[in-house]
Symmetry: C3
Subunit: 470 residues, 3 copies
């Protein structure tokens, strides 16, 4: 029997029936990803398996480095085929790592390839996959989105982006899906790095067409961009933070910090926190006003290897899980917005499994009695998006919140090969629920459980996010 068979990860009859009946055919709403909008708009075709699979995947890079592969064959100048063969030699050492599952699930779903990838099978797999990539209409970027029944994909975008690619896709008659931007203004908080900050403010001025002479103009320009994202159909924002910032200064003080940073003087750590806190409240208000959903990605310790970061830049696979306290600042951030009746729908993602229970309770104190599941604990993120991490998030949410209102899975991926993550999640979900029915922890009421599955796969996200899917 092949490794990726129909019942992959479904360990009981009940689980199989739940998956096949309720989950398998649901469409996908991929509401958080890092896919490049240009590649989608241009309907990019890939020349070989290296491009969609290895070119930008820092999970694979880390595995290769840990396996003793030199950087030339990771991110360096080696031939794509050689890099692929080196990756194939690493694969057997990734047993029990999610890469082992993803690799074979992706080979099967995209190319119908059933063999285990290793040194011996690699050359033939390379040839067969490349042949399909070059010829199949299902394997362009748009083809892939349609093949996986993606109703909408949300990209992650700088507020200064003009969103031309999004507009192009959404005005196309043939795309068959929607592409929406996500407002991610991390650069607006960077008063600790004045050159970065000043140059970004210059971009913002240009894109907003608002002259930024003061902090007040700065806010105006941000609001203008937020409105622009809204006009293109965007209904989500996103922030990547170590911890919540919830220690705000007033606008006058924020203005002084703003001017200082713009003039090339770095804010102190305390000022940076105050400024960021002030802005995070501002962003909260913007989202609340327009009924957007705010996403907070908390807890990553990024770019820890100075030598590698200098050589390769950020986001090249040198990030860890952090272990900051999260509970007080997270609650305080919510509380400050709630006090001014400006707490938007929010999804919080954590990067350290020890925060699962804190997050699962933090959401429960800020539900508003209007929007079901208004504050959401998001699916297992980054170092937690494997079977165990998915199960932990589901269990923590269930134990302290409403599993039945969960908005479910997202790829959070930079790769067009990642859409089977939704299938993966659904199999884990149905396996869990089936085993609980069999163990008597859930009632043997498959209609009830099945409705919940359907909701988590698609309907909850559709209703909650209120994106236009037509």
């Amino acid at each position: 029997m092949s490794f990726i068979h129909d019942d992959f990860l479904l360990q009981s009859e009940t689980s199989r029936r739940l998956y096949q009946t309720y989950a398998a055919s649901e469409p996908i709403l991929d509401y958080h990803s890092h896919l490049p909008p240009a590649d989608i708009a241009s309907n990019r075709r890939f020349n070989n398996l290296f491009e969609p699979w290895l070119e930008g995947d820092h999970y694979k890079w880390r595995a290769m480095r840990a396996n003793g592969v030199p950087e030339s064959h990771v991110t360096g100048n080696a031939d794509p085929r050689d890099k692929f063969l080196t990756w194939a030699r690493t694969v057997p050492y990734t047993l029990r790592n999610p890469l082992y599952h993803w690799t074979h699930l992706e080979l099967k779903r995209y190319f119908g390839i059933d063999e285990l990838l290793n040194e011996n099978s690699a050359p033939s797999i390379w040839d067969r996959a490349n042949e399909q990539l070059r010829s199949s209409s299902e394997l362009t970027t748009q083809g892939i989105l349609r093949k996986f029944k993606v109703r909408a994909v949300c990209t992650t975008d700088d507020p200064c982006d003009d969103l031309a690619h999004h507009r192009a896709v959404n005005s196309s008659a043939s795309a068959g899906f929607r592409m929406y931007p996500t407002f991610r203004p991390d650069a607006a908080l960077a008063v600790g790095q004045p050159e970065v900050f000043a140059s970004w403010v210059a971009r913002l001025q240009k894109s907003s067409n608002i002259e930024i002479h003061s902090f007040s103009h700065f806010l105006d320009a941000l609001k203008q961009r937020h409105g622009h994202f809204h006009s293109v159909g965007g209904r989500l924002s996103d922030h990547g933070l170590t911890r919540c910032f919830a220690n705000p200064c007033n606008d006058t003080q924020a203005g002084l910090i703003f001017s200082k940073a713009r003039d090339g003087k770095a804010a102190s750590a305390a000022e940076e926190e105050q400024f960021a806190s002030n802005l995070m409240l501002f962003f909260g208000r913007l989202d609340a006003e327009k009924n957007w959903t705010k996403q907070l990605h908390l807890g990553a310790l990024r770019n820890v290897n100075t030598r590698a970061t200098q050589a390769l830049g950020p986001n090249t696979g040198y990030d860890n899980i952090g272990d900051w306290p999260q509970a007080e600042a997270l609650s305080r951030y919510f509380d400050l917005l709630e006090q001014e009746n400006a707490l938007p729908k929010t999804i919080i993602y954590n990067n350290n499994p020890i925060d699962n229970f804190v997050f699962s309770t933090a959401i429960g104190s800020f539900q508003d009695g209007k929007t079901p599941g208004k504050i959401q604990f998001g699916s297992g993120w980054w170092f937690l998006d494997q079977k165990e991490g998915i199960e932990w998030q589901l269990n923590a949410l269930s134990n302290n919140g409403l599993f039945g209102r969960f908005v479910g899975m997202l790829t959070d991926s930079r790769s067009f090969m990642s859409f089977p993550r939704h299938e993966y999640f659904r199999r884990v979900l149905c396996n869990l629920l089936g085993s609980e029915i069999d163990g008597g922890e859930l009632p043997r009421d498959e209609e009830l459980v099945g409705a919940t599955i359907r909701n988590i796969c698609f309907a909850n996200a559709k209703e909650y996010l209120a994106l236009d899917l037509n």
Copy 2:
């Protein structure tokens, strides 16, 4: 088959046999609860299912808010039946939350009702349950305690309480159980809120009949109340703390902080910690002198939603799990008492599962070689009193301590409907042990394992707490 059948949560023959043979018939010693003494003393009868089930249950309130139910139907003025129907509509969304288990276990054990609660079944369940509440002698507060074979229940009480209800119950020939108070002097630490503190000191003066002119009188009055609790049969104290306070000032400094707070000036955070540390040592000595058991409930982040707390008051379902470091202060508190040979029997409860292993080792360094299991790691608390939390606590305790000396379950509840929590715990316990016997992790020696189960259900708590059960 009904959801709550005889083998509910018992997933193997061995587990079933262990539960039926050793656990099911054991009496209950509910040594920590928040039941209202007056309701027990008066043998209150309930008018309808709303009163014992929804009126005071912040678990259900949180679930309803998360499901989009407006506050009018949670804690507000809506009709009790409408609130119940709204709760019933929420129940299907609580799948996988402990509320789903508790709800159906309680309907079965109190009313013999076997249906799943939802919008359709709700009206009939409401009528049938109410009929029984109004007519059955088993469903008054005292009837319930007898029905569940509760040998003693410990309430949680302010040191100023006169304990008349406890004395009334314990002098009653017909009660069939004992009710003991627990000394919970949290208000004595509140020097950071001078109005609260001063008014409480005034109450203390009155109840103790000791004029409080100084810190020394304050301690005298506290000691008098402790003695009063002892005279009524109380043998437990309890403290709700974010973290242990273990950074004491001396009595002179404590006296200054005391006077300042009493005069309406708030202590600083540092002073508050020093004062609380001083008092926690004092309370430790009181308990040690009288061979009481001290309980520490650590790690809750309370009343985080300012708007809701202002509208509804504290303890209305706006609390989270906190994530403070616990290890050093906890050890230091124990160590300071141990150094003066004044460490009482102590049970520590944690609110964040990440502290399970810290707690399971912290107890092991302060066992005294006299009282078996002198320092206890208490059962899964609050956000952790579901199947997974119960199992985690049992496993952490077992991995680093003596499971065989564990004093077991308590309801910690404000509701008379919560006594099946003991059954729930016992099923989880027996399911775990049965599966471990079947898996070869425990010897197939059911006498040995069964004796351990019996001890954990009742005998260990009886021996350890030394309450008068006659």
Copy 3:
């Protein structure tokens, strides 16, 4: 059936086959232990079961104290047989504690004894075990090492040790195994305890034969000892730290702190951290130069019970799990060494399970693309070396790193009775993998999985540590 049967902990046919085929016969490389070199060099014979089992085992001491056993029968002056009988009475209360498994596994493997240890079986077990200890050539220290196919054992040694015992064993024709020292310079960081520090520097001066007039001489002497360890075949260092020290001062400042401590004045906490950070970088360079493997044991909160520590000394069973943040300092320590191209092979061990995921990602950012698995996350340590802790470490490592490159188990023990810990680990490992094959999470490719098992049992450690095993 006896408790410790052939399939102990192996819960499926697949698991049994994996264990018997791939794991059972692998030799042992016990690369971290606290065995006394003198006992090995002298081929010590034990007079009775108390000596190898209870004399130095603080796990058992903690269990006995928690069971109400007075110190006279733990570490005190009671008769060895009485102490053993007291331990036997405690054993039934250790159900679910790893001691229950270890106890019976050790009785079986060393003495062929199959009964459960308790009050009744104890006298006969005492007699039978003692008889064998006194007569069997397999039960001397060297006999034990050969019996368990230990190819090399690494002890943990003060830099001042002359390593005569190691040289004696390794020049013996008959030993049948190698014994290597591990360089553990914790005393070199103790500038906060000037008497301890000064007397240790005096020992260092003597052992190195280098006159230490300055910090620079101090470093020279440490380097001389490191070289001496190398000449005897040592290839590992070890450090026991609460947290990583990664906040270094320069050598001039370190010199001032050094002189101050040597003159009897305690360094401040800040100075101690700076000094320790400086030295930890120095030690990193020493290891990197000679291609050694550095071990970091992080997170223990030691000697928390002042009264007991004063009475019995350190390392007598009064230690807890700590809960310091680890992520930032750990990454920074690695980063500082990596920036000067002086990061050695390193194994990090954690004492708190909440750090598992942090550790599993921290290693991934410092792999160098040359040495496979260069930075390792070590096996479950101390309070985590039971079945659950072993599985958690394996899972965390697998989820975020390369399980296939893991260097596997070590005893970390002070007892010659602990070698079955390797068997225990292997059973847990094979049970996990077998169940994952059966559940479809791993491919049913027993050759692939079996090769991985073999590597983790022995070959990975052999290749990685580069100890001379001939």
